[in-house]
């Protein structure tokens, strides 16, 4: 059933010409669209009608076809505006700019509910408020209406306003937005409609030039649109609106009944047309009468015939099945691809799959979705750069920039090593990020300075340690690389607080984008694409390039609009660059970009709305499951309560969408086929439920769910031959191979040859080299071997690196280095005489100058601490631990150490003489000390203390950890440092310093943790169990012999020894029997 709602002038001029297509037919016959204007709901339908009319007119009249005056309602409104409103009076704003104005309105006003105690609103709140308020404006609701509702709110009224605080805020925002529009002479779409509606009412003759205005294909109108239609009805122009509506089933889908009633109320005279006034398909009429009625009408067998319903495994398989279906009907039934359409309720769910899977089947795909601009990869890349400014240089932003393929920072080559270095450096420096680029620069400078000083200290040593120097140099190089990235970003970007006007801000943004290499990356991709060179991008590269370029174009248009409108409004007002950026973010979040339709190329994939009233011979509706079609209803509680009838209106709209994708009103005898598909599982394997729309369709067309739903998993179903249709030669080969088993072996042998065995080469091949006989051992090596032969093997022979742990506190190594440097510098400061290698004298402190010594120690320590003072939250605590806090009565370690040292100086007969004596290391002047039986020792002695007469000496070692070894550990050979150093020192004191008679007396550990000393190997100690170095030497010599003999056997050990071992996963300690006396859980009771 069709109705035409027309004004008197239309009836006078045209009488009853029948349905829309009959009117069109007569215009085509006449060969002229002069004095006629068509208004159509969608651009796609507009293009399709344009093509159809052009073809038919040319076929009839054989002469050039004039432009057909056809608009969408919005285009028509803009056209009328350009015609009747003087130029330059107003400016029409885009949707994204509108969002920005809403945000501006929100910033300008006080919002007790939304802002609460905070100062900023989240992006989600801004977007949601803008969406809701624009929805209200589209429905013709003004701030004054909202305000009066708030004032008259009655909490007892269940349909009234309940959330007064929220609505009050919304009303304030809306009022401010209206003020901005009015103040700045800006128009959004509702304001535009309002303006031209008023103009038409005041000057009814103003739109005469449009001739007869005909609207078709609409089912719903908003309030400002109603008022506009009302104005058209009263104008001096003939106006008609065609409505495909049957009061019998009107309530079942769409909101026709409401539209019907409203049109009648606005003064239109409805004229009912029955079927004789136009040709209509029987199935179409059947569906219009019965779909969603819940009845099972008498259905003809041919009603079910065009439909195939297919249950697929998951969305991916669904798209695969559709691709096979398309190839199959295209090849077997010669249906052109442009005559096939794939539609879905929510294209965003499927467009990615179609883009990726269709090319695998050799199918060109023509997807016309409108993705959100902020989800485009190229826009994401641009905003990564801006995020550095917006979020003050966070770590993840820099890392993502380095990993982003679109961005190539000038002079920076992103490699895996650079990323590793970046990660390593920020971990070592404990950089938190988010404090601006300058803070990063400061941290890098401080760290570089510290490293350089360390390097200088090391090289200035009499016997520099080559390994340490190499390590520091490597670290310096890494820091240089990473700080290079920061410097480049600093040069590229602009300070967030830089004041600039809109034009300067936009020019800066464009310049940043230009220098970041994004445009040139796209150019290179495009060039490669043209040359058909394989680039590192998958099968749909040309479309990806198009997508990126369109997104970029849309973005630049937005930037230009922002510049023009803002300059027009406030050319002289400057804002910070960050403020401009935030506005741009707001604009981008509210905008979409269009992937253009390419008529005639490939198969069309679009939304259900876009195919309404279009004539395709094959229609594929996919994603027909609950939640997708129909879309799940979610009550919008943003206004504080659910709006009346909103669920009912939602389901009617969904039904309408489904109905319109099955039927079209143009007269046609062409047969149509439908494939309706749905996945049984979602991509993450959740069960999905078939759409009840399919059940409704089956009910009215006489189909049966048990029998008429085909399943993708049943490959041999005769109704779905397309599932077995092979779309590529590789598939043919595959099938052939499976059928001829004899081929398998040979073919797979061949394939095996082609596989990339190179890729599975071990990166770190172990090099098993047992130390040669001249190898110099360090104390750490020997202690490791003593602790666990297997650990020594894994670490020293297989050379597996130990697992590193990072801590927010100063590490043990940093603590050790700090104290070593401080104490070394203290004793080599001008307060003490210089010890040379020929005249070695013990150092002493002048008892009258305690404060001078203490002051010098603290000055050195302060200087050293500044070098390691990084941005980490615990540094203040570390400082307090070292320097103390007199205000809180906390004594620092440095003070405690000085007290201990001062006491020792006064009381002990041994005084410090030599510090940080390195021997046997690369670059050392003292060679490795030969202690006999193959034991060549290298190392570094922290300090040697001499007796006043230089007849005996003490080996001293600084310990930063809590645990300090004792005589028991030394006697067992677990700690070989003191005896071996004592013997080594004795040798080089003789050879290097001429102290022939100087012998070791004892050894002392200075704990830097609690500033105590512990004497070991002291022959004078009471109840001493200390052995002499000579007695202990054979233990170490035996270890060396075992290493040379390749004895790395795994010995049974106690569990606690292995608890923190880095090599536990290599080790088979748990596979060997427990040590004697212990019973493992498995052996219990046996």
């Amino acid at each position: 059933m069709s109705y035409v709602f027309a004004n008197q002038r239309y009836h006078d001029l045209h009488g009853s010409e029948g349905r829309f297509h009959a009117v069109l037919g007569r215009l085509v016959q006449k060969g002229s669209f002069e004095n006629t204007t068509l208004i159509i709901p969608t651009g796609r339908r507009q293009r399709m009608l344009d093509r159809m009319i052009t073809r038919e007119m040319f076929a009839l009249h054989k002469k050039p076809v004039p432009d057909i005056p056809m608009y969408t309602l919005e285009q028509f409104a803009k056209h009328v505006y350009s015609l009747i409103i003087p130029k330059g009076t107003y400016r029409i704003i885009s949707d994204p700019y509108r969002n920005m104005l809403f945000e501006e309105a929100m910033v300008n006003v006080d919002l007790p509910f939304y802002r609460g105690l905070g100062t900023t609103l989240s992006r989600q709140t801004i977007d949601k408020c803008a969406e809701v308020l624009y929805g209200l404006r589209k429905d013709g609701i003004l701030s004054s209406t909202l305000n009066s509702e708030v004032r008259s709110a009655n909490p007892k009224d269940i349909h009234g306003i309940h959330d007064i605080a929220r609505i009050s805020d919304l009303s304030t925002i809306l009022h401010e937005y209206e003020q901005i529009l009015e103040r700045e002479y800006l128009l959004d779409y509702p304001a535009l409609l309002g303006l031209i509606t008023q103009a038409i009412i005041e000057q009814p003759q103003s739109i005469r030039r449009y001739g007869t205005i005909i609207m078709d294909g609409f089912s719903e109108f908003t309030e400002p649109e109603w008022l506009f239609l009302d104005a058209l009805e009263r104008s001096e122009t003939a106006f008609a609106c065609f409505l495909e509506y049957d009061p019998e089933n009107g309530p079942l889908f769409g909101n026709f009944d409401q539209t019907f009633g409203k049109l009648g109320n606005t003064g239109f005279k409805p004229h009912k047309m029955d079927f004789s006034e136009g040709v209509s398909e029987p199935l179409h009429n059947h569906l219009r009468h019965y779909l969603f009625s819940g009845k099972r009408p008498q259905a003809k067998p041919e009603f079910a015939q065009p439909f195939t319903i297919l249950e697929c495994i998951n969305p991916q398989s669904e798209v695969d099945a559709i691709a096979r279906y398309v190839r199959w009907i295209h090849s077997t039934q010669n249906i052109p691809l442009s005559d096939i359409v794939i539609a879905m309720r929510n294209p965003e769910q499927y467009s990615g799959l179609f883009r990726e899977i269709f090319p695998l089947h050799g199918l060109p795909v023509n997807i016309t979705d409108r993705p959100k601009l902020h989800t485009s990869p190229v826009i994401i890349a641009m905003f990564l750069l801006f995020d550095i400014i917006r979020h003050s240089c966070r770590i993840e932003d820099i890392r993502t920039i380095l990993m982003n393929p679109y961005i190539s920072l000038p002079g920076v080559k992103t490699t895996h090593e650079l990323l590793q270095s970046f990660d390593e450096i920020i971990r070592t420096m404990r950089i938190k990020g988010g404090k601006g680029l300058k803070e990063w620069e400061r941290s890098f400078n401080s760290f570089s300075l510290m490293l350089s000083r360390r390097l200088m200290n090391e090289t200035m040593q009499i016997r520099p340690n080559g390994d340490v120097i190499t390590r520091i140099e490597k670290k310096i190089e890494e820091v240089k690389q990473v700080s290079g990235v920061i410097k480049t970003l600093q040069e590229l970007l602009i300070e967030e607080h830089t004041p600039c006007n809109p034009e300067e801000a936009i020019n800066t943004m464009k310049s940043i984008i230009d220098k970041s290499g994004i445009v040139s990356y796209l150019e290179v991709l495009s060039k490669h694409q043209h040359q058909q060179v394989l680039v590192d991008i998958h099968q749909t590269s040309s479309e990806l390039i198009e997508r990126d370029v369109r997104a970029m174009r849309a973005f630049f248009l937005l930037l230009d609009e922002y510049k023009q409108l803002r300059m027009h409004r406030n050319p002289n007002i400057k804002a910070s660059f960050k403020e401009h950026l935030e506005r741009i973010v707001s604009i981008v979040h509210g905008s979409q970009f269009q992937i253009r339709e390419k008529p005639g190329t490939g198969i069309t994939v679009t939304s259900m709305e876009q195919i309404r009233e279009l004539e395709y011979s094959t229609i594929i509706l996919c994603g027909m499951h609950e939640g997708s079609s129909p879309l799940a209803y979610t009550a919008d509680m943003f206004m504080g309560r659910e709006l009346p009838d909103s669920e009912e209106r939602h389901i009617r709209r969904e039904r309408m969408s489904f109905y319109l994708s099955l039927v079209h009103h143009a007269p046609s005898n062409r047969p149509r086929t439908f494939l309706l598909t749905y996945p049984a599982l979602s991509s993450d394997l959740h069960d999905l439920m078939r759409s009840h729309f399919l059940d409704e369709l089956m009910l009215v067309t006489g189909m049966n769910a048990e029998e008429d739903i085909c399943k993708q998993s049943f490959m041999n179903d005769e109704r779905t031959p397309f599932l077995r249709y092979l779309t590529s030669k590789e598939e043919y080969i595959d099938v052939m191979m499976k059928q001829q088993h004899n081929l398998d072996h040979l073919v797979y042998k061949q394939i095996e040859k082609w596989t990339t065995s190179e890729q599975i080469k071990r990166k770190h091949a172990p090099t098993a080299i047992i130390p040669d006989k001249r190898h110099s051992f360090s104390i750490t090596e020997l202690n490791e071997y003593a602790r666990c032969h297997y650990q020594y093997f894994a670490k020293r022979i297989l050379r597996f690196a130990e697992e590193e742990t990072s801590t927010m506190w100063m590490s043990a190594l940093e603590n050790g280095l700090f104290f070593h440097h401080v104490l070394h510098q203290f004793y080599t400061s001008p307060l003490f005489p210089i010890n040379d290698r020929y005249v070695l004298k013990p150092l002493s402190m002048n008892p009258d100058k305690r404060d001078v010594y203490r002051g010098e120690l603290f000055r050195i320590a302060e200087r050293e601490f500044r070098m390691i003072d990084f941005q980490h939250p615990f540094m203040d605590i570390e400082r307090q631990t070292i320097f103390g806090n007199p205000e809180k009565g906390i004594k620092g370690r440095l003070d405690m150490w000085f007290d201990m040292e001062w006491k020792n100086m006064q009381q002990s007969q041994y005084k410090p003489a030599l510090f940080e004596i390195s021997f046997g290391n690369k670059g050392d002047t003292i060679p490795a000390i030969d202690l006999g039986k193959g034991l060549f020792l290298k190392g570094k002695i922290d300090r040697i203390e001499l007796s006043d007469d230089a007849s005996s000496f003490v080996i001293a070692d600084y310990k930063t950890g809590k645990n300090v070894p004792g005589n028991a550990d030394i006697n067992k050979g677990k700690e070989q440092q003191m005896p071996l150093y004592a013997l080594a020192a004795q040798k080089f004191l003789q050879s290097e310093y001429g102290l022939e008679q100087c012998t070791p007396h004892h050894a002392v550990y200075y704990s830097l943790h609690n500033c105590t000393s512990k004497i070991v190997m002291d022959p004078e100690q009471k109840r001493s169990v200390a052995l002499t170095p000579e007695e202990l030497l054979p233990l170490s010599q035996n270890y060396v012999a075992s290493i040379h003999a390749g004895d790395f056997e795994l010995k049974a050990k106690k569990d606690q020894d292995c608890e923190h071992c880095s090599f536990m996963t290599l080790c088979r300690i748990h596979a060997i029997p427990p040590i004697r006396g212990e019973v493992g859980p498995d052996e219990e009771g046996t």
Partner: protein, 189 residues
């Protein structure tokens, strides 16, 4: 063609961007006609199979086939025996879905290559590696399961599908499976 790919961290299991900041499979020079079999979240790593044989989709993904997948999960804290029992028995209810029983055990550090960016370790809270073999693959299931027992997942690596092991395939590398390896993929017990 069946391809085993070691998906690195921060890469989504598709070739075109999903509008996030994550990278895509397009950067790994994979053959032009393959498509992922199933998914692995952007923040998970490990074995991802890709193929141009559509039938494999059915064989591997249909839940009725109960195809095993093995994961190594580095979790915060040390799960107790009761926690492990909860994981193994299939009594956890995650988003109204009772998870199927699975094999779960504590393992020593499997020494996977360091992740970039490295995981957020907390100095004073130990972490543990679990090996879980699941027979279903709901969205972020392992993460939800370990979170449900109070041990959030810090790092998740899929190390095997069927009996085919990721072994020493490096992150970002891929290889085409030979006949024997294909058989391992489809082996269930």
């Amino acid at each position: 063609m069946l391809i085993a790919f070691h998906k690195p961290y921060g890469i989504i299991s598709q070739f075109t961007s999903d509008g996030s900041k994550h990278g895509t499979l397009a950067s790994f020079n994979l053959p032009r006609d393959v498509y992922p079999l199933g998914r692995l979240d952007a923040d998970s790593e490990g074995l991802l199979l890709l193929t141009n044989e559509s039938a494999l989709n059915r064989d591997l993904l249909l839940p009725v086939h109960r195809h095993p997948r093995t994961y190594h999960a580095q979790v915060e804290g040390i799960p107790s025996q009761e926690d492990m029992t909860l994981l193994q028995n299939g009594t956890l209810i995650i988003q109204e879905h009772v998870v199927l029983p699975c094999n779960a055990q504590l393992i020593q550090n499997p020494m996977h290559q360091e992740r970039i960016p490295s995981i957020r370790k907390r100095v004073h809270i130990p972490d543990t590696w679990l090996e879980l073999t699941l027979y279903e693959g709901k969205n972020r299931q392992v993460r939800k399961m370990t979170a449900a027992i109070g041990h959030p997942t810090l790092r998740l690596i899929r190390v095997a599908i069927g009996k085919f092991l990721l072994k020493d395939l490096e992150p970002g590398a891929w290889k085409e499976l030979d006949h024997k390896e294909r058989l391992l993929v489809f082996e269930r017990s």
